[in-house]
């Protein structure tokens, strides 16, 4: 599969939860993120990481490979930040101390607890975000924006931007291929040169596309109306109930484990 087919949008359009009412999906994802952030102890976010990943992989049927590929980038970032947090002076007993180039570094139970909390919170938050990104197509988010009375200009602009993302991807692939077959990326110097040309060309083509778009819109009597709320499947009672139960469970876990910390 090429990038054109295999991107977030493709899975958002084709996953098993595609036709579930999008307010429910947003409630689940945003609810999980909120609980992750609010939880004072790391067990609840960890619970969310495991269960929400299971929901994304098993219920929405997103391939494991895609999910891991998506998650590993933010998690690596989180991991590096966590290392820094580990060595910030915290309260509590010292777990480990050593010296690097005459700088004493100390890990305390306080900093270790904070680090683990930050790690699972980030992880859990990303799981919530990717759950939304992988199950809810942008178009439904547009209709939610429309219903929530976001300014029409903003909704219309987002829709056109969304359209142009794919125009840009297609143009980039075409130009990149044309450059690659003529050895445009064989050395660092050439790569930089080619990349610059690609950027410049994208700008010009984007401009041209936009002009063509205006003609196409005018030809169909454009009168300032673009956003049209899409139809939503009504939420099924069973779905509402299961999401309520799940979020309730997460909150219960958060409350019950609020005093449990990994390092004492």
């Amino acid at each position: 599969m090429s990038f054109m087919e295999e991107n977030l949008d493709y899975y958002a359009q084709s996953n098993a939860l595609r036709d579930v009412n999008c307010y429910l999906k947003l409630a689940l994802g945003l609810g999980a993120i909120f609980i992750c952030i609010a939880s004072p102890a790391p067990l609840a976010p960890l619970f969310i990481v495991i269960t929400l990943s299971a929901i994304t992989l098993v219920v929405a049927k997103i391939p494991v490979r895609v999910y891991v590929e998506l998650l590993h980038i933010p998690v690596i970032f989180a991991f590096f930040s966590v290392i820094v947090i580990l060595f910030l002076s915290g309260s509590g007993d010292t777990i480990l101390t050593f010296t690097v180039a005459n700088v004493p570094l100390t890990i305390t139970t306080g900093s270790a607890n904070l680090a683990s909390l930050v790690l699972v919170r980030t992880f859990g938050g990303m799981c919530g975000l990717f759950f939304i990104a992988l199950t809810t197509p942008m178009i439904e988010i547009f209709s939610v924006m429309h219903k929530l009375h976001f300014p029409p200009v903003m909704v219309d602009l987002s829709m056109l931007i969304y359209h142009f993302i794919f125009v840009f991807i297609a143009e980039t692939i075409a130009i990149h291929n044309a450059q690659t077959i003529r050895h445009g990326y064989t050395s660092l110097k050439r790569s930089i040169n080619s990349m610059a040309m690609l950027g410049a060309m994208l700008f010009i083509r984007g401009w041209k596309e936009a002009e063509d778009l205006i003609i196409a819109m005018d030809s169909r009597c454009y009168d300032g109306k673009l956003a049209l709320p899409g139809q939503q499947n009504p939420p099924k009672p069973a779905a509402i109930a299961s999401i309520a139960v799940y979020l309730g469970l997460c909150i219960a876990v958060a409350i019950m484990t609020s005093t449990i910390v990994p390092f004492r």
């Binding site: 178009i139 297609a170 003609i215």
Partner: protein
């Protein structure tokens, strides 16, 4: 018939460029099938953009229904409601996030009510054979589907004139044949259709008026026969003769066929060959052509009929018929030029069944009848069932004897 669209001595130059149109004059009648033919850079696209007032000529007038176009925004709205435009690159036309929203764009901006929009959109999508694609994002469609979605977006505004810039240029041969059938279907429903192309085969076979443009002027406007049988015209505008005509010219110069009317299709070429080859033909009873209206006949009935009548060749016109054939796993023998293929088969004694949409049923009867009258052969066209109505008796002259 009145002139629907008229170009009166049009001049146009893009900013800081030499004139790309210099004195273009021609007119298009209501209900015509017009092909603007010319080499690259002849000014075809510029001309097309004048049809709905996107470009304003620097000199000369464009007349729609006898009224000169005015370029204020309110008049332009009226013009663009009447003249629908389908662009060469479907991607620029499909900008909404879903097919439904895209097709609804025109009606929405015309101020229709939501339930009316819904009706109009589903009708337009059904017409182009994309029912069920409402929620799909346009960037996930294939080239042919994108083109159809773009056409649906234009049809939803119910235009009188449909203008297509290079409609088949990005489609595979089967997709192109499908699209031309769709154009025929729209024409049968009363639309005036203008296409620009440099595909001579397509222009020759499909159009009934050719406007030959080169270097910003109209070189000739007339019937396809006039334009393409004149070698001087053809070569001076960087085109070539359609293959059928080329073969025919060679045959005439070798006195293998008599020079009569230029053949439009393989069918006509074959029949003039048969007529002039002196050999006595082994007499064979011609086959029949059965017509089935897929819009009113149930899939079950068609499948049963096909099973009951083995030995028939199967042909399908239009997306709905082809979809039905695929769903019911009916193997198709002809998917383009279906009526001609049916007649050719009938001439060698084979029977065929043609699955067509409702609007094309009378066309099948007319086409075969015209052929019979011209060639002296008699081929029977049989409706598959009572739901496939043959045209009213008054509308048709004598048909060939039925079985």
């Amino acid at each position: 018939m009145t002139n629907l669209l008229e170009f009166d001595n049009i001049h146009y130059a893009y900013p800081s460029c030499p004139e790309s149109l210099s004195g273009v004059t021609f007119s298009i009648k209501k209900g015509a099938k017009v092909a603007l033919v010319g080499p690259n850079g002849a000014g075809k696209t510029t001309l097309m953009l004048m049809c709905n007032g996107v470009l304003e000529p620097s000199k000369g007038r464009v007349l729609l229904d006898g009224e000169p176009l005015r370029y204020d925004s309110r008049s332009l709205r009226e013009v663009r409601k009447k003249v629908g435009m389908v662009f060469q690159n479907s991607d620029t036309q499909l900008f909404a996030p879903t097919v439904y929203q895209d097709v609804a764009f025109g009606p929405l901006n015309l101020g229709m009510e939501p339930d009316e929009i819904e009706k109009v959109v589903s009708r337009a999508l059904l017409e182009v054979g994309l029912a069920g694609f409402e929620k799909r994002p346009p960037h996930q469609l294939s080239g042919g589907e994108k083109k159809r979605a773009a056409i649906a977006g234009t049809l939803a505004m119910d235009p009188e004139v449909l203008v297509f810039d290079e409609p088949t240029s990005s489609l595979d041969p089967a997709g192109a044949a499908d699209l031309m059938e769709l154009l025929d279907e729209l024409h049968a429903k009363g639309a005036t259709i203008i296409i620009s192309t440099h595909d001579v085969e397509l222009a020759y076979l499909w159009a009934d008026q050719i406007i030959l443009v080169n270097k910003g002027t109209v070189i000739h406007a007339g019937t396809p026969e006039e334009v393409f049988t004149d070698p001087a015209l053809v070569t001076s505008s960087n085109l070539r003769m359609p293959a059928v005509l080329e073969v025919y010219t060679e045959l005439v110069s070798r006195q293998m066929v008599e020079k009569t009317q230029s053949p439009k299709s393989v069918l006509q070429l074959v029949s003039s060959l048969e007529q002039s080859s002196g050999k006595p033909k082994a007499y064979r009873a011609p086959g029949t052509i059965t017509v089935c209206n897929v819009d009113t006949t149930g899939a079950e009935e068609i499948k049963a009929w096909v099973a009951d009548n083995p030995g028939h060749k199967h042909g399908a016109m239009g997306t709905r018929a082809k979809d039905l054939a695929e769903r019911e796993s009916i193997a198709l023998d002809f998917t383009y030029g279906v009526i001609d293929k049916g007649i050719l088969r009938a001439l060698v004694g084979e029977c065929s069944v043609l699955l067509t949409p409702a609007s094309m049923v009378p066309h099948v009867f007319r086409r075969v009848e015209t052929y019979c009258r011209e060639s002296g052969n008699s081929i029977a066209v049989v409706p598959m069932n009572t739901k496939t109505q043959s045209p009213a008796p008054g509308a048709m002259t004598k048909r060939g004897p039925t079985e």
